[in-house]
């Protein structure tokens, strides 16, 4: 695998994480528990879509086959998506959505901060910009979890259940494949193992303030970065890609 091919794969992975998480957040549009949260979740979703667009644009240039960012988003099949398993999980209730957002955005903060030092200038430039936004997502979801954890029995139980159910997808965030090996060697990306303690600290800070118990001895599921997904991704893509798959090139 050349460095260029690896960078293409990596941009797709980061783009896919953003696109799928953004799509999930957008499902809350008009269904939010309160108006302000409806706005918050859809605005975070917009950030994700914007970031996905930058990353797909870069991926399309690296690929050099004349594909556009839209082609990469709408014409790839499930096995060609490299997003982490966490982001494709269903929204569940508000507690699940916020827990998922916090677990992912704390990872995104640590990754984007590390990528700000990337030897690839375009990626480092994007990473600086993305860091600002994902920090906001981390703060927003964390504040909700702290409120839920210190709220009623109902809110505490729901948020703790969300944590217990999502924890098995967290190891997947730190998995690496050939793409990472090539990029770490080239100084473009970082060893995911180095991010784990950073992520762990920021997650535990929230869980401690919210008085949640970290699940122990949890079985971990991985495979997202190699295109092996849970049952949910196919359903998301069915809905998201329907129009472009049924009417390729349709414009309006």
């Amino acid at each position: 695998m050349t460095t260029k091919e690896a960078l293409y794969n990596f941009c797709l992975r980061l783009g896919d994480n953003n696109l799928i998480l953004g799509q999930r957040l957008a499902e809350w549009c008009s269904n939010g528990p309160i108006l302000e949260e409806d706005l918050a979740m859809t605005n975070m979703s917009l950030d994700n879509f914007g970031q996905a667009e930058y990353l797909y644009e870069y991926a399309a240039e690296l690929e050099g086959k004349g594909n556009s960012a839209d082609d990469l988003a709408f014409l790839r099949d499930e096995r060609e998506y490299f997003n982490n398993l966490l982001v494709e999980q269903p929204n569940g209730d508000f507690a699940v959505t916020m827990m998922k957002e916090m677990l992912y955005s704390s990872f995104a903060v640590s990754l984007c901060e590390a990528l700000s030092q990337s030897k690839d200038e375009r990626l480092s430039g994007l990473a600086v910009r993305m860091t600002k936004e994902v920090k906001y997502h981390y703060r927003h979801s964390s504040e909700w979890l702290i409120r839920l954890g210190n709220g009623t029995d109902e809110s505490r139980t729901r948020a703790q259940t969300a944590l217990n159910e999502l924890w098995m997808f967290t190891a997947d965030l730190f998995t690496m494949n050939q793409t990472d090996k090539v990029l770490v060697k080239a100084g473009i990306s970082v060893d995911m193992n180095d991010l784990l303690p950073v992520w762990r600290r920021s997650v535990e800070e929230v869980l401690k303030a919210a008085k949640f118990k970290v699940p122990q001895n949890c079985h971990m599921i991985t495979g997202g970065i190699d295109g092996q997904h849970t049952e949910y991704l196919g359903h998301i893509l069915c809905e998201m890609q329907y129009l472009q798959q049924a009417h390729p090139g349709a414009k309006w």
């Binding site: 302000e36 918050a40 979703s45 917009l46 200038e121 430039g125 994007l126 600086v128």
Partner: protein, 164 residues
């Protein structure tokens, strides 16, 4: 034929699609203007504020139309992502225009602010009555770049341009 200064002047008349009281140059979204030697072609370099800003596509189009209407034959709009846009790039004139139209300009947080619930520690001055007795009501307002605040002194809601 337009000089570089005239091109900047022309761009400073283009309102931000989401916050029309300020122009795209007030917000610091235009980074560079490069006329070709013959000045028949102009390259304008812009940077998006937020990744998810839906106004980006619209104001690129407006730049092309504005410059073409001044007789420039070819306009290229380039997007750069680095250095990342920051609310520090908003001009003083831009901040004053925001204030006049009921949008509080960005205020930096104190360095030692806590990571969580820091919005309660921020001092934002009400753009209507200048009081600092204000409270944060929502992280997001009508656009991703603004939050909703409320003034306890004049009992008016107002928007606050977030500091990023």
């Amino acid at each position: 034929m337009l000089t570089k200064a005239e091109i900047w002047e022309c761009l400073s008349q283009i309102p931000d699609p989401d916050i029309p009281v300020v122009s795209i140059t007030d917000l610091g979204l235009v980074k560079e203007v490069t006329p070709s030697d013959t000045a028949e072609k102009v390259t304008v370099t812009v940077t998006p504020s937020y990744s998810g800003c839906p106004a980006m596509q619209l104001f690129k189009q407006e730049i092309i139309e504005a410059l073409k209407s001044k007789g420039i034959k070819e306009v290229e709009v380039k997007t750069v992502y680095s250095p990342a846009w920051s609310s520090n790039m908003i001009s003083e004139a831009g901040k004053e225009k925001m204030r006049k139209h009921g949008i509080a300009p960005p205020e930096a947080l104190a360095k030692d602010s806590p990571v969580f619930f820091s919005e309660t520690k921020r001092t934002v001055r009400c753009p209507w009555c200048n009081s600092t007795d204000t409270k944060h009501t929502s992280q997001f307002g009508s656009t991703p770049c603004k939050a909703l605040w409320f003034c306890n002194s004049c009992n008016q809601p107002f928007e606050y341009f977030k500091c990023i």
